[in-house]
Assembly symmetry: C2
Homo-oligomer: 227 residues x 2
DNA sequence: ACTATTATTTAGTTTTATCTAAATTAATTT
DNA sequence: AAATTAATTTAGATAAAACTAAATAATAGT
């Protein structure tokens, strides 16, 4: 993960990260419009930036064919994600933030340039493996356990797993979870799914409850014994 | 110190901080060239930025007359300095950095925008009053104990005080201090000064030593019982 | 008071990251 | 296969922050 420290602007870093995340969803090459939407900018701006990143050989690009990260680009993405998630752990574990408050600030902190800083922060936090949302933290070398988390709405009946994250971290949703005694770290089993409305019956630590499709598509489980 | 959160770029913040520091040295209005030197930029760039800051009424400016910070400008400066110094304390106290390593990274961290973050960091660090170099940390409200630190070279004979900071934080100088058993927190008394070369005789915790003018003009003492 | 020197500002460019509007290519329908 | 629609790129503009070179104002020396 060291490479030879390519100089990158904040903007370039955010684009690289966006491309990484989009290519996770849909492993093929990433569309210009998708990047524009993610970055809340215009497709023409994306094209400009893609050309720049391509010149730096951080992405593979052919006109009208979309982009994918090069190996260097992937490493840059992982190093930014590593920083983002370590700062999130710091804010939650050391500064008593709650998990829904940290993302915006981590968006800024992830751009601080200092390898020493991030190494020592990692040590200070006890080398955490996941961030407060349950997402894995890449190592310095750019390796990390591939996420095995899936949305409840995507899992087959009888799946069992630990609740490790949410999609929607709005205050309203978090309040709902609290009220229904659903918390990070709880183990759930999917008992049944209603084809009609997609609602799901799950067993939790307080008994069996039924959740709507909307809720099920916002809760991630980590599946046991996955590779 | 809250004001109504003026939007400021990183560059504007660094200029405001530079103007603040320069006006501390020499309380009058600050010269364009002095800012250019401090910021390692050209006078013409400084003029451009001054006009911008003046439009935002963060500085008082009349052509050819130099600039001074407005009251808002002073508050902005103090809030950046507060952040800079708190991050320095964090790196030294929590991440085991040494005091000569933290400044460059703090130059970046001071620009992170989050009032909550800095408040919680302050609490996490136990509301420190000084940074690792002995410089005072402004409060949220923009008040702080006026520095009573003086260079040994500027103090009269028989002054006594606690060593709280250095001017030159090069590795070579810090090594020298270590070798001579001079550390932050030690109490020194100035016994004698040689007019010929400005060298000074001081009593330290390991006995009496003689230091050159060059060393004396790099060590700050905090004088006891000053207001 | 005049001149030389220094400090500061202005004018005109450059680079980076945006944007809008127009042109082009790709994909979908009929 | 032609026409329509959608996606993408190009062209041209703008704003921020820098620069160089030239002009102007302030200061100092005689
Ligand atoms: Mn970011
Ligand atoms: Mn996260
Ligand atoms: Mn800075
Ligand atoms: Mn300091």
């Amino acid at each position: 993960m060291r490479l030879y420290s390519i100089e990158m602007t904040l903007s370039e870093e955010d684009y690289i990260k966006a491309i990484y995340h989009l290519s996770q969803i849909d492993s093929k090459s990433v569309a210009t419009n998708a990047i524009a939407e993610q970055m809340k900018t215009k497709p023409s701006s994306v094209t400009d930036m893609i050309k720049k990143l391509s010149k730096k050989s951080l992405v593979n690009y052919k006109k009208y064919q979309g982009v994918s990260l090069s190996e260097e680009g992937r490493m840059v993405a992982l190093s930014i994600i590593r920083k983002h998630r370590l700062w999130e752990v710091f804010m939650v574990n050391k500064l008593n933030f709650s998990w829904d408050e940290v993302h915006v600030v981590a968006e800024q902190l992830e751009h601080i340039k200092s390898d020493t800083l991030i190494d020592r922060l990692d040590a200070h936090l006890g080398f955490p493996k996941v961030d407060p949302h349950g997402d894995p933290i890449p190592t310095k070398e750019g390796t990390f356990k591939k996420s095995v988390k899936k949305l409840i709405s995507e899992l087959p009946i009888l799946s069992e797993g630990v609740c490790i994250g949410v999609n929607d971290s709005s205050a309203a949703f978090l309040k709902f979870l609290d009220k229904n005694k659903i918390a990070l770290g709880d183990t759930f089993k999917i008992l049944d799914r209603e084809d009609f409305d997609g609602s799901v019956s799950i067993s939790t630590r307080v008994g069996t409850i039924r959740i709507s499709e909307q809720i099920a598509s916002n809760l991630y489980l980590e599946i046991r014994d996955a590779e």
